[in-house]
Point group: C2
Chain length 323, copies 2
């Protein structure tokens, strides 16, 4: 039998993982989610996923351990709760905060400067409607000031933006914290770096964001459920938002499977997404903000170390906390 199966592994990650895992380990790698791979039976007592696989109830009894190769672990909490599973659950500590934060600010900057339209209009050398906003002096609201949010604050300040934060804890001494609505009413750019919890689900919805100054930019790089897609579409249609950058999506697991299978008509949501992604003031990336050589390396090393720790001791390096 196999020792471990890694689901949702992209090409570069597989290469890096193999470097850090011992050659004696019987490991298998697939780019697919559990659902795409269509394995009926549990292929190994230990599995590793990212955020898009749903672990089948039928697997839960024999499953010894599951490591999510992500910093977010709300999907493993769901699995444990729904299946009353005793499987050990692990996650990765902060391995990609800077990469994610850099992509968030890059997306905001590209939207402020209409980079998509600038490159599109190159082939006619046409500069009409390409006037953008300078980044320096813009007001940036960071919603969720954890590992990633702190890096967003650092980068935005480095670019000489005005920066305020929204968080339950006011842990950063040199950051001005405000309430969510106060911040939204102030911001030229909102960057969402919240974890997904019962409280944050749907937090940046239409009713909240309609209070933003007209034409402001929203970027979400944490979890799609915080920014419902129907609300985002409406905010763009009504020209309340001037730009939208998403790296994460509501029901992302299902959406990703549908898009990879090219089932564009699979759901109203998938259709809505594809429509939205064509707009000039929209930047959609495939949950890729973490994806730098530096992060892939740190992630592969942490994943391999956590897998080997589990095999030796029965415990992951970072166990998912009990609720």
């Amino acid at each position: 039998m196999l020792d471990v199966v890694f689901f949702e592994v992209f090409a570069e990650e597989e290469k890096a993982l193999k470097k850090y895992l011992p050659a004696t380990l019987k490991a298998e790698f697939t780019p697919h989610t559990i659902q795409e791979a269509k394995s009926k039976n549990l292929p190994a007592p230990l599995i590793s996923v990212r955020t898009q696989s749903v672990i089948p109830t039928a697997w839960s009894k024999r499953l010894k351990g599951v490591l999510t190769r992500s910093s977010g672990y709300e999907h493993l909490l769901d699995f444990r709760r729904e299946n009353k599973s005793d499987a050990a659950c692990g996650y990765l500590a902060d391995y990609c905060s800077r990469a994610v934060a850099e992509q968030a600010v890059l997306m905001a900057a590209a939207l402020l400067r209409k980079l998509k339209l600038q490159t599109k209009q190159f082939d006619r050398f046409n500069r009409d409607n390409l006037t953008g906003f300078e980044i320096q002096g813009r007001k940036c609201l960071v919603v969720g000031v954890g590992y990633i949010g702190r890096q967003v604050v650092d980068i935005a300040k480095g670019l000489k933006m005005y920066v305020k934060g929204v968080d339950l804890k006011h842990a950063q001494k040199d950051l001005k914290y405000v309430g969510l609505l106060e911040g939204i009413r102030w911001a030229d750019v909102v960057i969402c770096a919240l974890p997904l919890t019962k409280e944050t689900r749907g937090m940046l919805n239409y009713d909240v964001l309609k209070q933003i100054p007209r034409g402001s930019i929203l970027v979400n790089v944490s979890r799609g459920e915080i920014t419902p897609l129907a609300d985002m579409e409406r905010l763009l249609e009504e020209k309340i938002l001037g730009g939208l950058g998403l790296d994460v999506y509501e029901n992302e697991g299902r959406l990703a499977v549908a898009l990879r299978a090219n089932k564009k008509v699979a759901s109203p949501q998938a259709q809505s997404l594809v429509r939205l992604s064509k707009k000039e003031q929209v930047l959609f990336t495939p949950h890729n903000a973490f994806n730098t050589y530096e992060s892939v390396e740190r992630k592969a090393q942490e994943s391999a170390e956590s897998i080997m720790a589990f095999i030796k001791t029965g415990k992951f390096l970072n166990p998912v906390p009990q609720e």
Copy 2:
């Protein structure tokens, strides 16, 4: 007769200019270059251009003044020299350095993170080959540390890049200056912010850039003649450059006219450009780095003030220096 004709005016700029010019002034505005407008006779004693019009020799005798709405004025030096013209020549002082510098770093960051490919692969939610480089910790060489270059240094340091500069003058106290080749051999990212002079023409050519670490990024936001296009294409083909961001082009005036007329086959250079612009590791923008609301406003105000100063006193606010 008209008081002044403004060539090469895009929509947003015309609106801003009208705000700052007196209503009594007989002014005309056209988005076209002098060549595109096909005016045989000088339409007014005073004209204003950007960088793409060539002032006809036939106009040079009756022309009283010409204001270039750009910080670079090498095309007016050429005009004066070639036509032995006595027309007063004016240019704009530093009105858009931050905007240009921000776009330069934005292009470099987008290339480091493969933003073009990231958004392209969204519709299949495919993350293969999307691994990029983190911006923090990269080595950035700023070639030409004038108004724009200084802002590039400031932004790159704000993003926690390592920064070195190349310039004849070593005017920035907190910047390490190096020789061009030493810098090229060191850099992950090269940003060109040089003015065009006899000395800088073709300076960043194949022979110089082939010494860059393989896969590094080049961005040019100043003048296209410094980075010959045939050399750029070869550096990409040979995978010496990992990314190329251009806002300016060799023979840009002719190229822009050809592209606007959709004469894609007008010249081997235009063909080469269109081919290049399709590549995933290439970002081409239509000489638009200056184009922010903040810059357009400052530029319109400076242009209007300089035009009115000329009408009243016969002198522009910033006269092009004698060679």
